[in-house]
Each structure stands twice: as C-alpha cells, then as structure tokens.
C-alpha cells in the first residue's frame, strides 16, 4: 500500500508493507539513516523521532498510524538554526563516544528544551527524567547532562513546530 505523510516538512509518499514500522520505513525505504535501531522494541531510544511534535520511539509505531501526520527526524532537526548550538554543546562537553545513541539523545534534548518554560534552576534530576528514555552504554551520561546544562544557559529558540 501507499502511505503519505509529512517528513521534515515535505509531503512524502512511499510504498510500504502495512505491517512495517515507521523506523523501517525511514531507514529502509527512505534512506533516512540518522535514526538508529538499537533494539527495535522501544527499550533504548536510539530511534527517537518527533511525531506531530511529540517524541516517540519510531520502532514502535506501525506505519499505518503515520498516515497524514508529521514526522521529524534528525535530518530535519539538523537543518535548523538552533541545531548548531546543540551540536556545539555536545561536542564541547565531550558527550559523544561511539555516537550510536546520540541522534536519539539530540531529539530528546530538543523536546526537553522546547517544553521547558522556566530555564533557570533546572536540576540534574529534571534533565535525567527528560532523557531517561534513552540508553547510552559508552558515556556514563554525565557529559550529556553537562551539554544540556550548557544549552539551558543559552537562549535557544525552538519553535512549536520543531523545524
């Protein structure tokens, strides 16, 4: 069957097997390879994308549910103005090792920064809760938390529509 949805602000139609997931569609049919598969079962967050401006594990979303909805992947986020700041914060904090989990963390970071109203006095605990859906085996998370603190100190404008 054919399915149409908005991918990173572009109407996209793709032929799919109705049983496949959004992650499969992104990676296998659309060659959007920035979204990673770490478990395929909603346990690691490597496949995090935005669906109608909310983060989801794309490996859990049947593609049929995506019909006429809006999907944003790391390929969309990386074109935004604010992304370079996120990139710099992660780089400067030394928050990246193997990098396999990182696009997922970036998506969760964007979501956190977008939804937070008062950026002052954010504790480690709040950041941890926001990123708790993402696993990383390399970094021990601390430098990722540091990167988010750096970003909180800057005034990042993240639009409601993400991109």
């Amino acid at each position: 069957m054919n399915i149409t949805f908005n991918l990173n602000n572009k109407e996209t139609t793709v032929k799919v097997d109705p049983r496949q997931t959004l992650l499969q569609t992104l990676r296998e049919d659309l060659q959007m390879l920035g979204t990673k598969k770490g478990c395929g079962k909603g346990e690691c967050g490597a496949c995090t994308v935005f669906l109608d401006n909310k983060i989801v594990n794309s490996c859990l979303i049947p593609i049929k549910q995506v019909e006429n909805r809006k999907v944003i992947t790391i390929e969309g986020v990386k074109r935004t103005k604010y992304f370079s700041k996120i990139q710099k914060a992660y780089e400067d904090s030394g928050a990246v090792q193997c990098g396999f989990c990182i696009p997922g963390f970036v998506m969760a970071t964007v979501d956190f920064l977008k939804n937070i109203t008062d950026k002052c006095d954010i504790s480690d605990e709040e950041i941890k809760i926001a990123l708790s859906g993402n696993l990383c085996r390399c970094t021990g998370y601390i430098k990722i938390i540091n990167a988010v603190h750096t970003l909180l100190a800057q005034d990042l404008e993240i639009p409601e529509e993400i991109i």
Binding site: C98, G99, Y141
Partner: protein
Amino acid sequence: MKKFNKEKRVDAHKKIAGEEKYVSDLNVSDKLIGATIRSEYAHAKIEEIIFAQDFDWDDIVIMIAADIKNNYVAMIEKDMPFLAKSIVNYIGEPIVLLAAKNRKKLDEAINNIEIKYETLEPVLTFDEALSAAENKDDLIFKQMQVKRGNFSTAVKRANFIIEDMVETSYQEQAYMEPQGVIAIPKNNDKIEIRGSIQCPYYVQNAMDQLFADTDIKINVNANPLGGSFGGKEDFPSLISGHAALLAHKAQKPVEIIYDRKEDIKTTPKRHPSRSEFRVAVNEEGRIIGLEVKLSINGGAYCTLSPVVLERAVLTFGCYFIENICIDGYALKTNTVPNAAFRGFGGPQALFAAEMMIEKIAMELNLTPLEVRQINMLKFGDKLETGQPVNYSFGLPECLQNVLHKSNYIKKYKEFKKFNIENSAEAGYLKGIGMSLARHGGGFTGSGENYMDTVAAMELLQNGKLKIITAQTEMGQGVDTAYKKIVSDFFELPYSQILIENKDTSKVPNSGPTVASRSTMVVGKLIVDNCEKIKNKVLEEQDDLSEFTKKAVDYYKTNGKLKVESTYKHPDFVKYNEKELTGYAYPVFSWSANVAEIMLNLTTYEIEVTKYFTSQDIGRAINPQQAVAQIEGGTVQGIGYALFENMYTQKGQIVNNGFIDYIIPSIMDVPEIEADIVEESYFYGPYGAKGMGELVLVGVAPAIASALINATNKLTRKIPSTPEYIFKLLEE
C-alpha cells in the same frame, strides 16, 4: 598556529548530526539479507535437516556445514565451527545459514526447515562443570598456575587461616549497535567484508583460513563501531564467515545484522567466575600466604578463554603476598561461548581479591582500609611473577587522593553508627566502600613481542600526514588520540592530519584494538613515525613551524614518503610463559576507588550515590576524554555490580533485551568525582599507558565493599541484586 581545542573529538560533529556511517547505514544495493538457524538444544546430535519439499527454494541461498571445507573459526584453537556439523554444543549454535531478498522471504524459508536431534547430556552449571572436569580433561580449555614461595609453610606461621568463596556472573557488553557485517563479492575472486569489527586483522586471518585453497582474496574494512567493549573482538570472525560464505555462493552482497534478542542470546559475554580462596594471615593482618582456585566458565568453545584466564590469574589484587599460589581453570560447558569484555578477566579476579581483604578485616576486626594499607604493594615490591613495581607506580598517590576527596575514614565510622542508630527509622542503610585496582597495559606476557605490530605514516603532496594503523574507532576516541599525538609532535592543526580507513588492504597489521594497547603500544609507534618523518623533512636546525612548507618541498623533490615502525617491548621486559614468571605486562595502570551507597530496607534496592576515583593512567593524551572514559566505565561497572543479571534456564539465556537485561540508565548515575594521576611511563607516547579497561575493573569491588559496610556481611556475589541482598540479610 591558531589555537584550537585539541580535546574535541574529531568524530563528534557528524555523529551528533546522525551522519556517521555504521555498518547498517551502508546502503549497499542489490543486497541479500542473511539469517541463522540455530540449535534448540544445549547438547545434541543433529540427525537430519529437513527442507520442506513443497516450498520454493529457488530464491533462497542455503549453507550447511557440509558445504564448508575449512569449517573452523581461527582463533586460539580451531574448535569452533562456522556451522555445526553433527553435534551441537550450545543453545543458539548456528546450524544453517539462509539468505534472501527480504525479511519476509527469509521468515517463510525459516518456517520450512526442520531439524531433528538426538539429545545428549549437557554440562551446564559451574558445579557440574567443576565436578565433570575432575575426571575429564577435555572439559578444561586451559589450566594454569602462578606460584611464588610456599603456601604450606606460610600456613604454619599464620595466626589465622581464612577461607571463602565468591562468584561473579555474566555481563553482556550491550553495545548500542548490535553485531553486523556485510560481505560484498567482487568479480568472483574477491570479497570485501565491511562491518562492526573491532579487530579487522582477526577477521582477515579467519577469512584467509576459511577460503584457503581457493583463489578468493578477502579484505576487511571496519566501519566506525557503535560500541564494542570487547564484544566485537572475536565474534565478527564468525558472522563475517557466515556472510562471506553466503555472498560467495550467491555472488551478491549479503548483510547479516543481528537484532537485539539474537545478539543477547547468542554472542559472547564476560565469563562467569568462581574464586575459592584460603589466606594465611598473621596477627597484624599481614597476608603471608594465599591459595586461590579461580575458575571461569568458557562456554562451549575456546574462543579467547585461555588469555582471559591468564589475565585473571595475573591480576589478583594490588597486594604484596610472599607465598602465593593461584590455580586457574577455564571450563567448558554447553552454554554460549564467552570471550572478551573490557577488563578481560581482571574484574573477576579483583572482585575476589578485594572480598578477600574485606573478609580478613571482618575476621580480625580491623577496618578494610587498615588491611589494605598493611598489605598494599610498595614501590620496589615484586609481584607474584617476580616483576618489580619500580616505575610508573601511582597507586599510593591514588589512594591518598581518593581518601582525601571522599572523606572515607570519617564516613566509614559515621555510616556504621547511622546504620545502628538511625537506619530502622530512616528505612535505609548507608555504606561506604573502597577498592584498589590495577590493569596491565597491552597483551599479557610475550604476546606483544610475537605480534610484530607495525604502524605506518605517510606524507602527502600537500604536506598533510596520514596515520595508518588498524586501530578501530569504537567510541573510545582512538582517532582523536592519534591526531592529537601527531598534532602535539609537529604543532599541526587537525586539518593537516588524516587517518586511513581501517581496511586491511590499506593498513598494516598493527594488532587488535584491545587490551588498552592502542594508545600505549600503537601510539608509541606513531611517535616513532613522526620522528622518522621529521628527520627526513627537517634539517636539524629547522624549527617545527616550517614543517608544512618543508614537507611540501620534500614531496616535490623526493616524491612520496612513507615510514613504518615496528613495536618491541623495552629490553628488560621478559616473560616466561610456561612458568608465568617475569614481566607479565610492561607497565600497570592503577586506581583507588570509593563508592557510597544507600540500601533501601523495604525493596533492598541499592543506589550508588557517590563515586570517587583516582586513576594513574600515565600521561593523559586527552584529559577530557580520559574523564569521559572513567565516567562511562564507572557506570558500566555499577551495572556489573548491582543489576546486570543474565538468567539461564537449561543452558538457554532467558533475557531478550533491555527490559530484562537491565543496563544503567541515566537515572542510575551517581555523582562522580574523578581525578587523574599522571605517573609517566617512560616507554609510552609522551608517557601514556593504558586506561580503557582500568576504568571499569575497580568499580564492582568498591560497591561490594560499601555493601559490607552497610550489611556487616561479606558480599559473595555480583550482581548483588535485591533478591541476593534480601537473602544475605536474612542469613
């Protein structure tokens, strides 16, 4: 030169943007997908493999053992087949390979294959293995002994003889990127292997042996890895063989990428271990004799078990013990083969050694710190192999640092008092514990000298330098470290320094990316190569700021310049591998660690609240990433200590993924205070020695020690799950 941040990783930028190409991102056209059909029994005879007659097999590529001439995966032994022929030895052992255009086709094919078995008696548990091994030598992969002095005379002089037994469980590497390779055939006589491969030359060697007596030439090209921790050291040789066999038969690219469940259930893990110790102590608490029987469960095939065992028996704590005898056994069982994991035998041995210290403290009514201080190695002391620690020995300073930072001595008493007076009301116990740890850099014993490790460097037309080694980037930051070494040498910006792909057709065999050797050993060769290039390009009086200009001139006049260096240990580093005496390692890295925990008295859950560590890694090439390694290793060690629990049932691993194999999440991260002691190693690049494994090995014993402070009972088992603690407290 413009100043730039040299600590910044060279690969971070693209990884953050999702642009790094891991093996699953290669997008090779016209590829087939491979799948593995596996044994359902831990030990059985394969009677028949039945391919359903009414199924259309035309589009399916099939491989069985009978199709493979050299059916063994070359490692230390040749015991493991690519596909089981007549006997299966563990649940999950590969029997049939299939490849098809898509997953759907594959699944249909899988459903049309039936395997008939005659079951045999398996050996599954430690107890079974130990008792079976007593009368059957072929159930022992390796047996070895480290010995000095005479334990029985020590016993006669001792005031106390203390014995106990401790156990450690499996640990799964749980790299975020699962195992995967793709084999791409080219013109009938070539196959390129690309993949998540920690050691491309291991795979090269295995493929050369698999395809020996054919005209097929193989090259192995390691992609950046999405984590490995040892898990992709030996195993990729097996799946590369699988993919290559299918690809050769189909004459099409074949990709094999495991899903998480398959990865957890069938790939190698950290060896479970059991250590029984008997220790002779005098009245001051000095250890005068020690006898240990240390066994590890190797699983069904040998893989790297002998060398894991060797490192284990050579890493029994940071103490001077005059009379010592450690017997090591690597046992064969009908379970998934175990192999390399960061620490490589060290974590098991250090856990046992540190629990021995704790037990002595309990028996003699001393504090664990006192027992450590009485017995700790001193500068100039000789280790059990006779190797003196008389250079690059930062352990005393590490200990001092960590005691100071953590306020251990005061808290040790305070927490005990709290536990007696306030814990019932508070609902939790508090604990503070410590560990001392060491890790030998590079291969054990003579390995490094046998290897003839070669690294190359090339001067390019535009004056740029290319670093040419087989060391893979798995997340540990080797590419950045190497660029920094060259950049520091020539005062060049990173843009002037390139790194060759880790492709065996392009890089020499600089040995595997293992054993904390990439910086210490191969990094040294990079410095040697820099020296050689400098000598060619610059006259003695020239200063380095002219390097690029002179290099361009040099190229114009002389053409290409490529240099190579070969590694040899310092002359005095000699090891007797029969007797296990002499220099087991050219140098050790050291750490002292303190962990604070809270033990919930309702749920028996343990939270690590603070972690202090001081680590002597020699000169830190990249201080920021060194601390990043420490943090990552610490958190991985917390999982090992407390909740990474593998369950087996009749030899089958029950865990399916991260829901039932719990690795630390961001919620489990304590405050970590790390510092680095830079006791320079005279032979390493700028004084550096190994660190990638040291960061993990001391964690579990420090946490176990904190548990003892909380419970007043010896921690005999890791992971110390709530179930275990519950039982311990009920005792």
